[in-house]
Symmetry: C2
Subunit: 412 residues, 2 copies
């Protein structure tokens, strides 16, 4: 029997009533002749509530104990979902990450999946059961410690599990219909994308599109496993993330934006080799992800280095950057008012006019572009955060995305 792997997020299992709706959907999938494996997140705001309890007993809880605490959230929803299925006459069994054989490294709070053994999952499927697996968690096989996978961990579990079980594809159920050409809250005419390549989805995710995190897309790309992002509230098709050989590549598939970063500027840095390595090495050692780096040489021979950092990591990044800045006699400034707007499209690399149209569109709105970074299929501009909405809307229109992904030649 074909194996279907489904993942339901926190809003999809937020209360007993929604859990029973999810159970109905699983039953339907099974009645169509599929083996079904389900990965669940914690109910609604459970994880936040557990974090709040932890904050009340400790200012700096050990990450190992945080993992012990947080891993209970998914175990509650998995057991409830298994009960709801059994109540409908569907044989079901729930497994923790550890029981399902989700093996990880030892990085508590942000563990990486190293392997999925899935023995008990396979055995229960053979016995005709629906298997429910707790997302977001695994076990370090060396220390036997329970780990959590950090942001996007449940999606990553689902995609990795689907790959290990040889599933045709994986279904990620969420509270939106799929991936859009831009955030529909900002651009009401934004179109749902029927299909998107892995690289495009990666750039969208890295540029602020919140539907999927990069890590699950990376696993999907590595195993060439199509990911179907769809709504848990209706049956309509969502967005397929997959590499399609025959498909004409879109020049611009979507506009992404991000207001979750802060810009650091280190001014008056001596212009000699190794300075950037010293700074970014220290930040990397603290596992801080730095994005959009720009370095300028000033007239006096010193350099200015600017980069952006996620808001969650600002306190630690500030401490480290000021430490390095003091060593170098440089000054450090933070700018909390920035935002990023990006255009993404696999076909952009062969279309030289795309960047020009983006810059001209922003200029037409009187928006200053403060930093630029590009990949072969993405162009990102750092602008003021309060201009993000109009920039996204104007770019969406300029690239004609109200009619779906732009497959025409860009202006040259």
């Amino acid at each position: 029997m074909p194996v279907v792997v489904q993942k339901y997020g926190g809003t999809s299992v937020a209360d007993p009533e929604r859990i029973t709706r999810v159970a109905d959907r699983i039953r339907e999938t099974r009645e169509k002749g599929n083996d079904v494996v389900v990965v669940v997140s914690a109910m609604g705001h459970t994880t936040d509530e557990l974090l709040e309890l932890a904050a009340q007993v400790s200012d700096n809880p050990p990450r190992r104990e945080l993992d012990m605490l947080l891993s209970t959230g998914e175990r509650i929803s998995m057991a409830l979902l298994a009960m709801a299925l059994e109540a409908r006459g569907v044989p079901a069994v729930s497994y923790t990450g550890s029981q399902a054989g989700v093996l990880t490294n030892s990085m508590h709070g942000e563990a990486r999946i190293t392997k999925i053994t899935g023995e008990r999952v396979r055995q229960s499927l053979e016995e005709g059961k629906v298997v429910i697996v707790a997302g977001f968690q695994g076990v370090d096989p060396v220390t036997k410690e329970i780990t959590t996978l950090g942001r996007g961990g449940s999606d990553a579990t689902a995609v990795a599990l689907a790959a290990s079980l040889g599933a045709d594809h994986v279904e990620i159920y969420t509270d939106v219909d799929g991936v859009y050409t831009a955030d529909p809250r900002i651009v009401p005419v934004a179109q749902k994308l029927d299909e998107l390549g892995f690289d495009e989805m990666l750039e969208m995710a890295a540029s602020g599109a919140g539907v999927l995190m990069t890590r699950s897309v990376e696993i999907g790309r590595r195993y060439d496993l199509p990911i179907h992002v769809r709504s848990s509230f209706h049956d309509g098709e969502g967005t397929w993330v997959r590499d399609s050989e025959v498909m004409e590549q879109a020049i611009v598939s979507g506009i992404a934006h991000d207001r979750s970063e802060v810009r650091f500027t280190v001014s008056g840095v001596p212009n000699r080799p190794g300075i950037a390595a010293r700074l970014f090495g220290a930040l990397a050692d603290a596992r801080i992800v730095v994005d959009t780096i720009v370095q300028n040489i000033a007239h006096d021979g010193t350099a200015d280095i600017s980069f952006t950092v996620p808001k969650a990591a600002v306190a630690e990044a500030e401490r480290i950057t000021k430490e390095v800045g003091d060593e170098l006699g440089a000054t450090v400034e933070l700018d909390h008012g920035i935002g990023k707007v990006s255009i993404i499209g696999a076909g952009m690399k062969s279309q030289p006019g795309v960047a020009a149209l983006m810059f001209r569109t922003l200029a037409g709105l009187g928006i200053d572009i403060e930093m630029i970074s590009t990949s072969t299929i993405r162009i990102t501009c750092v602008i003021r955060a309060d201009r993000i909405d109009e920039a996204v809307a104007a770019l969406h229109e300029a690239f004609g995305l109200q009619d779906g992904p732009n497959r025409q030649e860009g202006e040259s």
Copy 2:
């Protein structure tokens, strides 16, 4: 270093503030030069809340999935307590029942502890850490399934763990000061007992004294491990449950009562061998604990069999008893208005006048004794539930317990 095993119940860890108070107490115990192992229950009403969620998705949740669900409660409190200790500079680590090596049989929901390996517990103690173990749960080593231990399971975990670690004694922290000569809510002059034998505590527990469940006392008796029942809200001594060779045995140590049972009467049973076995065998197969059995032969040669059953098991007991009753052409009646009052004392076996004083005291109040059952150190009378309070108070006075356990000779 001596090992102290402490158990904290749900009210003792009901919220973050109480958890930090428990952490302070553990730190003090450690600073006195002890290795400390702590067993915790779920916070406050967590278990009831999880059961309520289960009831909302299923009328009859599989016991295996209930265990998956309920075992999360203690995992939350153990992780929070470990965090609170670390926040005080006390190195600590939490372990699930499975990680601590609490091995059980496979009876989900009421599993029995078969062995405690405790390898990781010992290793962490050697590393100088306080070890927090989730109560109420274990793992079946054959199926690798998570089990819960049912009522009194956290106490049982603590006592068994203390025995396996070779601790001098185990401390059970609760919301009362210890074991009393009677329920202080009914008898304001009731005295806290300084000491009580294992057999007496077993009879007290079986007769309705709610402080300790019989299963933990049984483990304590088997390993001759003293149990110190004490308050988590102050430092005073509680009640020591242990066998004391030198101690003069009290004739009556305490009065227990129980309003949690229902009486079944099966009338018109053919008086031939094997009938009682048929009935009580069927109840035992359903794991229903039957108490206080009385059988009378009527003038017509048929028999009446009466027995009491805990209220929680009434529905199933009624189904089974009526099934057997139908087979036998007997009628089944239920009486929800009964209560039990018991006097317990290790010295009673050598004092013939104790029963007489009990019966005369009840008669003096005009209370009908409907059933009687005895052991060598206990006499139990079934009476109307609404007469329980006055019976307990009068017996407490008749045996002079306001001055502590009665060590004088009873009236002969």
